[in-house]
């Protein structure tokens, strides 16, 4: 199976001489095509930093990140922007939709930025809208949609240009339980039917239970990894809870 993401021993420091913070302390993992991976950890564990580094928004202090055979740690700013545009798709916690554009236009924006042929844009947008079941809301403005619909529009925007890797940062953070479920089921569908590779960051167990594989982060290190395998979602949920419970107890029990 093709390896989409390969993170090799990355470290990230913040601050200056007087005040140094180590946000990521030697993390190594990889993700294959078609996997649905989740990164879990408490606040301050470095999971958002990790996502930012993988998504090229931030730069690592040392180590390598290879996405689809391209070592992004070696790319310059312009090429990085280009790479981000073409190969990656983002779903943010606060949707980040432009309130002056309709849903259709928000999704289309991802394509126009890449200078896709205007004639093809209509078809592509409609296709991805179908995948995420948001065809009826396409002509509406964000303020006219529910939170769940907005997040799915954001997801559509992330996907429309067929990126190698989809990155989601707390996608259900601002949603109620019903909307969360709908979004996660959509993501699941994308993963199963269209073989999309998804990397999700969350602190919420329910969200995490939809993934195939979870990496647990604490204090900038991966301290555990579990696979769903053949378990049902409920069983996987329980297994995750167990690991999380351990986080509250003695650290030496975990490592």
């Amino acid at each position: 199976m093709k390896q989409v993401l390969n993170v090799q021993n990355i470290e990230k420091y913040y601050g200056n001489k007087d005040n140094l913070t180590k946000a990521i302390d030697g993390i190594t993992f990889d993700i294959n095509e078609g996997e649905f991976v989740g990164i879990m950890g408490p606040s301050g564990s470095g999971k958002t930093t990790l996502l930012n580094c993988v998504s090229t928004i931030d730069k690592v202090t040392s180590g390598n990140i290879v996405i689809d055979d391209t070592n992004i740690t070696e790319l310059k700013k312009q090429k990085l922007s280009k790479f981000r545009r073409e190969q990656l798709g983002f779903i943010f916690q606060d949707f980040n939709l432009l309130d002056t554009l309709t849903a259709f236009e928000n999704i289309a924006l991802a394509l126009t930025i890449q200078k896709v042929n205007p004639k093809k844009i209509d078809a592509q947008v409609k296709e991805v809208a179908k995948k995420l079941d948001i065809e009826e809301v396409l002509p509406k403005y964000p303020y006219q949609m529910s939170g769940g619909q907005r997040q799915r529009v954001a997801a559509a925007r992330a996907l429309v240009h067929n990126p190698s890797l989809i990155l989601a940062d707390e996608p259900t953070g601002a949603l109620d339980s019903k909307s969360s479920r709908m979004l996660l089921e959509s993501l699941e569908k994308l993963n199963k039917e269209y073989n999309s590779t998804i990397l999700l960051v969350t602190h919420d167990t329910f969200t995490a239970s939809f993934c195939d594989r979870i990496l647990f982060i604490k204090d900038g290190k991966i301290f555990n990894e579990i696979y769903k395998g053949n378990q049902s979602r409920k069983q996987f949920f329980d297994q995750i809870i167990e690991v999380v419970t351990l986080l509250g107890g003695d650290i030496s029990n975990v490592l």
Partner: protein, 674 residues
Amino acid sequence: MYFKIALQNVRKSFQDYFIYFLTLAFSVCLFFAFNSFTEQQAVIEMTTSQSEIMKLLTEIMGYMSVFVAVVLCFLIMYANSFLVRRRKKEFGTYMLLGMEKSKMARILLYETFIIGLLSLVVGIVFGIALSQVLTIATASLFEVQLNYRFVFSFEALILTILCFGLVFFLAMLLNIVILSKFKLIDLLYADRKNEEIHIKYVGIYVLIFIVSLVCLGVSYYHAWTDPFNVLGNKFIFVVSFGCIGTLLFFLSLAGFMLRFVSSSKKLYYKGLNMFVLKEVNASIKSNFISMSFVCILLLLSIGALCTGLSLNATINKSLKQSTPYDVSVEYRQYREDTPIEVIELQLPDSVKDDASILRVQKKVAIGIPTAEYNNVFEHVVNHYANREIGMTEQSNYEELSFIHESDFNDVLTDQGYKPIEIKKNELVPYTTSVQLRDPISKDIANKRTLNVQGYTFSLKEIDLPEMTLASSPLIDNSFICVVDDEIEFDDPTFIYHAININAKDETKHDAIREALENEITEQFSNKGYTFSYFASTRQDIYDGNKGTSVIVTYVGIYLGIVFMLSSVTLLALQQLTKANDNKKRYLILNKIGADDVMMNRALFKQLCIYFFIPLALALVHSFVGIHFVDAIIMTTGRSSILEGSAIACAILLLIYGCYFVVTYVGAKKIIHSK
């Protein structure tokens, strides 16, 4: 301690304040310079009449300054409120920490004071520089010698400080009012934008747009084809149609533009165009009133500048023509209840000795029955009827002026032209007004005869040069009839005499004029209201005209620049506020993959459209407006104002361009800041 906070705030956000500060400094500079005219008199060698003009100018500037101060006041208060609103989050933090509103007001007070003081000082320094320039300009406008010395007007300084002090005081009051209205929750969550309602029926905008174009079209048509009527009673009609048209134009522009561009997929789906268009749409929609206002201000500004800059050149051209003699003394006697006792002025010997040419010119006005007049001068009557200017009440008699052939020929030969010959039964109508030439030609072609006091005249056409019959400060827009010397009329309604003199010695002009004036006051001392006179040397007329020209030029430039500054600052501030609100959006664009170059280009397009649309419309308005002013000025025989318009446009583009660049740089900085 609060002062320290204020000082730090100003230093930190100096770049944000820059446009505000720049406008303030510039306003102070202009204000100070244009109010220092009194001092200029000391430096420039002026004649008495010129000094009179300067006094008048200073007075007019005083009144203008009040008006300008009011405009600037509004501008500064608007700018102030914009800046305060931008710092909502900061004030929210102060409030959260428990600071009372009065203390925050105090910080604001100090800040306004610091900025005010700074801009006042800088403005005055530049103002002093500018007033030196103005002194030199005045000298050149009056065409006199300049003994250059440093000019500084203490009065202007006091006036400026007082004025702007008052304005800042008002601005601080306004700030306090704004602050008192702030609610803590609004301040902290100022970033959460309220969703705007978008009107769905875009089709309506197309309709409104068409209506606006119709309105403007009607307005233009009338101003272009019928300027004199517009000056009269159609004025309000044209102006209001123009204003309504402009308002509707901006109201519908957003929707119309959007509709138009979104229908072309190739353009709409290119890069960040969708985003830019929607942003511009939102901007224009929420600001259409101020944009119309800006457009009209720009029109006024261009008009003022054009008129100011071009009148000088225009006046110069016609001066030579309107002063055929070195000195002319004119006096008129009017008929009251009894026929006029004609007085022939006794000319003193000194005058006769000093004159190389001495002419006595006589004109009479005879009452002609209206029916007869209207019949013979049908087209002239129609011409005035259409214009509706200077229409007196309908009476039984119309006045017609006559001059003898020899008096007329005197002027012709003195100017180097060939004299004319008229038979006893012929009459040559002569006018210097360009507008009347055509109607008069038509009347002559009608070949009707005029019956006056037993005489019968047929109208004769002779090709005559353009000239005035005496050096007069008045402009005569009517026509006069040249008749044979033997024709004598009874009981005229008024009699006009002109003593036209060319002096042997240039320096004697004033002496001759004074001598004649003394004679007149002596001989006519008991005539009261049935008599009036003018005594002018060529220099007097030059000075008078120049005076008008100087005043109009300065007032035009002053008002023009102030209006321009106000309008462009308004636009700049609005866009900077928008940029601040847009920071979030540009961040999103960055996250979804748009690089810096793309975003800068989008910002540039956005600003371009917003800045240059009101300018474009204002230029179209001005085109019609200038043509209108030109047509009016033409009546006084003066030429077109093309040159002045060109300079005005150049200044406009320069100032506009500068503000645009500063706004772009500022906005770019805002949206790229983390």
